[in-house]
């Protein structure tokens, strides 16, 4: 990085009791190696240009230091040099841009076989629910070798879910779902941080991520009270909130039948269409009049204040399961 980093490495090694003072984070996911490669490339570029500028500035300052009787030579400039130091940095910048965008697309595109874990953030804790119904607070247990998708929402302010060892981070925003995914490669215990400032105990909104061998993960699952799966909880809520009074398959029903809609484009009464996904379902429960499906009247009352974020995630899991090919979403 610079001559300085050598000094810091030395200082860290000689600091008393610094057995546990790493200079580099553990690398424990499929993406972390790619991010690190990008990082080292950029460090290389930075060292090169820093050294170049240092050498030029110090070299010229010494070589052309003021001496009696010696005058500066007037030089206007040079178009060739200007072009050189515009085009070369631009070329390097574009390489970094394209490489960075490629890595970013990998972090954004969730593999289709990912296992989904629901995350809700609130001041100041992280709540997680596994597809099999287990819940945990601030901790997250995941199997290695399985892509994990996090579907996340905040109950209050903006938070950010950050696992340095996996090189992933995503803001957790109130009022809309965000997602992130990773696949752990190394079993171990890692930091979980909230990275977006969220108030007084922001620095205590932390936890541990346990990447477990799949067998260990199964053992952890079976050793924990499973409770209802999100789908089962959602199915019960769907009945207890009386959603099925209107949303059913009978002809003349007051609301659209929701089976089979998940992931499809739905035509709207006002023209246009909307994708039937988690954000649309959430909006329609809280503010039903916003986007009415074509052929229906705006009759549905708002359930704002009656459904918590976790219940909302359960309802969404249930609706998702209504459209899933048999078996695909019922993985243990």
């Amino acid at each position: 990085m610079s001559p300085l980093s050598g000094f810091f490495a030395l200082a860290v090694q000689t600091y008393p009791g610094s057995g546990n003072a790493p200079l580099f984070p553990p690398s424990a996911s499929t993406i972390s190696g790619e991010v690190d490669a990008l990082y080292w490339f950029l460090i290389g570029v930075s060292v090169f240009f820093s050294a170049l500028i240092c050498a030029l500035v110090i070299g010229f300052s010494v070589r052309f230091r003021r001496r009696p009787g010696v005058h500066a030579t007037p030089i206007e400039g040079s178009m060739a040099l200007e072009l050189l130091w515009t085009v070369v940095p631009l070329g390097i910048a574009m390489v970094i841009f394209i490489w960075g965008a490629k890595v970013y697309f990998r972090t954004v595109k969730v593999p289709s076989n990912a296992m989904q874990i629901d995350i809700t953030g609130k001041q100041w804790m992280w709540k997680a629910q596994h597809p099999t119904g287990q819940r945990e607070i601030n901790d997250l247990h995941v199997p290695v070798g399985v892509p994990i998708k996090l579907r996340m929402i905040s109950e209050d302010v903006i938070h950010s879910y950050f696992i340095p060892a996996f090189r992933i981070k995503r803001d957790v925003v109130p009022g809309r779902y965000s997602s992130a995914w990773f696949e752990a490669t190394e079993p171990g215990e890692y930091h979980l941080f909230c990275a977006e400032y969220c108030g007084t105990k922001h620095s205590q909104m932390i936890g541990r991520v346990y990447a477990l061998d799949p067998v260990e993960y199964q053992r952890w699952l079976s050793g924990t009270v499973a409770g209802e799966t999100p789908k089962q909880a959602g199915e019960k809520l769907f009945a207890s909130l009386r959603c099925d009074t209107c949303h059913n398959a009978q002809s003349g029903a007051r609301g659209p039948d929701l089976a089979g809609l998940w992931g499809s484009e739905v035509e709207l009464r006002s023209g246009g269409s909307v994708r039937f996904d988690a954000d649309y379902v959430r909006e329609s429960i809280l503010n039903p009049a916003a986007k009415i499906v074509k052929g229906y009247e705006p009759l549905m009352p708002s359930y704002s204040g009656q459904v918590s974020e976790e219940q909302m995630l359960a309802l969404i899991a249930y609706l998702e399961s209504l459209s899933a090919p048999q078996g695909a979403k019922d993985r243990p």
Binding site: I53, F60, I75
Partner: protein, 553 residues
């Protein structure tokens, strides 16, 4: 309009200057002299700098140990918020334009004053009122939202003095707008005969570009703060989803001003560096027009990159890609400047006086700051380093390593002109070195901490980050001493310093060649007529050497 005309100018005794023209309080507080207003700004930004520095000292003391043991979490959050607010809105934004810009832009273009002298004084009063309102908010409980005021935390959840602080920042924004307007009009309408656009010093170009950003960007900040206040005080849903608002909208509005604001802080610093490099290598700036136009390119492109603060906030992936590529583009004009400054030293007559020591410090630190900006503009890497200490380190390399180094370099360079006194050169060099070492020790470990994953704005942190934090805190104590030194010897020099000559550096420019030291109230004894370009050092050479004047390499 209100520019004093020659007929109203009082006649001077030979030794009269702007400092000795009148000693009364009234003559300072009601002055319309751009130089006196510059001094008023110097006093106020110095006060705010040490206030913000005091907050920084407390932050680094707390972070010297992993546990949150010195202050409560709530207090810590207020400290970093107020450190950011004070340093950005009340020190960095007004520092170079308010002090050096005010004092030297009119002199450098051969004008008697700013185009609107009374508006200029109003700018300072508006700034002070905004500063006092924010200071009132600080002493009556403080604010804990971070200087970024992210909603809905700031609009709904925070229990601190958000509204009052926001009012202070809102008011101060108008000061920026007025200063920007004044500089733009001054540069257009007040240039002396012969002072064509391409004869202007690059310091003036940089201030012109800065002023354009101030005038176009600051109103958006005012609107954002107004919307925030409406939601906080009257529960009108704009940003909080519970009220039907959109929290990401706040970030778009906030960064639409606050990213260009970074260029408001760094462009004037670049202007200072151009002047100093030319003066201490006795040469025209290499590629003058490239350096001039790169300022304008930064001003324009700077408005198109705000979304790079939001790669993870939920804006669309494709928006992220566009903002990323534009962010790489805005890095190029800065690189062009650094290369041109370095090339200026080639075959120069380089003198490592105190201001030049700051320039060399600036070039090193700004280069590292700029290069680490590429890490953050790079989408795949930003996912990991966003909101960590890596960002804190990058930002301080630009703002402290860049803007503050340039400010101090400029203060030393123009101090003899402003006050007619020389400071002790040896102490000046020592303090420049102390600041450089202290700065690197403070902020370089933070890059490593950031990549390790330490999030910013953490009151307590895991044990394993302890060593690097101790190094950083140790560095901060050295840096603190480095800043107190110039404060002490510059004040000392006002009374005991040697008398300065009109042009102690042998530099080019109207402020050195034509204006007496210190300048009289209307700057020049007679309106200067400009016949040469800026940095015409070649004109002083013996004839056989000056023949190569227009040489291109």
């Amino acid at each position: 309009m209100t520019a004093p005309s020659a007929s109203t100018a009082p006649s001077f005794a030979p030794r009269d200057n702007y400092l000795t023209a009148d000693y009364s309080w009234r003559s300072w507080l009601l002055t319309v002299d751009h130089k006196r207003i510059g001094i008023l700004y110097l006093l106020s930004v110095t006060g705010f700098f040490f206030l913000g520095g005091l907050f920084a000292v407390l932050l680094r003391l707390e972070l010297a140990t992993p546990q949150g043991d010195l202050v409560q979490a709530e207090t810590y959050n207020k400290l970093f918020t107020m450190h950011g607010l004070v340093m950005i809105f009340f020190f960095l934004v007004p520092s170079i334009p308010g002090v050096l810009g005010n004092f030297f832009v009119p002199i450098m273009i051969g004008a008697k004053d700013m185009a609107f002298p009374r508006l200029n004084l109003l700018s300072w009063y508006v700034y002070m009122i905004g500063g006092l309102v924010s200071f009132l908010a600080i002493i009556t409980g403080g604010v804990d939202t971070g200087w970024t005021f992210y909603a809905p935390y700031s609009s709904t959840y925070a229990n601190s003095n958000v509204a009052l602080t926001a009012v202070g920042v809102f008011i101060t924004g108008f000061s920026s707008i007025l200063t920007g307007l004044n500089i733009i009009v001054t540069v257009h309408k007040m240039r002396a005969p012969g002072m064509t656009w391409f004869r202007m010093p690059l310091f003036v170009w940089a201030h012109y570009a800065t002023s354009v950003i101030m005038v176009l960007g600051t109103p958006v900040l005012a609107i954002t703060i107004l919307l925030l206040a409406l939601e906080r005080l009257f529960h009108i849903g704009i940003f909080d989803p519970k009220l039907g608002g959109d929290p990401v909208l706040f970030q778009h509005l906030f960064w639409f001003y606050s990213h260009p604001a970074v260029y408001i802080m760094i462009l004037p610093a670049m202007g200072v560096i151009s002047e100093l490099v030319a003066a201490f290598s006795r040469k025209r700036i290499f590629g003058y027009s490239f350096v001039a136009f790169s300022s304008l390119a930064i001003a324009v492109l700077g408005f198109l990159v705000w979304g790079h603060h939001m790669f993870l906030s939920g804006q669309s992936v494709y928006a992220g890609v566009v903002f990323s590529v534009l962010s790489f583009l805005v890095a190029i004009p800065s690189a062009v400047k650094v290369f041109n400054w370095s090339a200026t030293l080639y075959k120069g007559s380089v003198q490592l006086s105190t201001p030049m020591m700051y320039v060399i410090g600036f070039l090193g630190l700004f280069t590292i700051g700029g290069l680490t900006g590429l890490f953050l503009a790079c989408l795949g890497l930003d996912v990991h380093v966003h909101d960590t200490y890596f960002v804190v380190a990058h930002f301080h390399y630009i703002m402290v390593g860049g803007a503050v180094m340039a400010f101090l370099g400029g203060i030393h360079y123009w101090w003899p002109k402003m006050f007619g006194k020389m400071y002790p050169e040896g102490l000046g060099k020592v303090s420049a070195v102390v600041i450089f070492i202290g700065f690197n020790l403070t902020f370089f470990p933070q890059f490593l901490l950031g990549y390790l994953g330490m999030p910013r704005r953490y009151h307590a942190y895991p044990e394993e980050f302890g060593v690097l934090n101790v190094l950083s805190s140790a560095g901060a104590s050295i840096l603190g001493i480095g800043y107190l030194l110039p404060m002490a010897y510059l004040l000392w020099s006002l009374r005991y310093g040697a008398e300065a000559e009109q042009n102690p550096w042998g530099a080019k420019g109207l402020e050195w060649e034509k204006a007496p030291t210190p300048p009289p109230t209307f700057n020049f004894d007679a309106t200067p007529v400009v016949t040469q370009e800026a940095y015409a050092y070649a004109d002083d050479l013996p004839p056989e050497e000056s023949r190569t004047q227009a040489r291109l390499v």
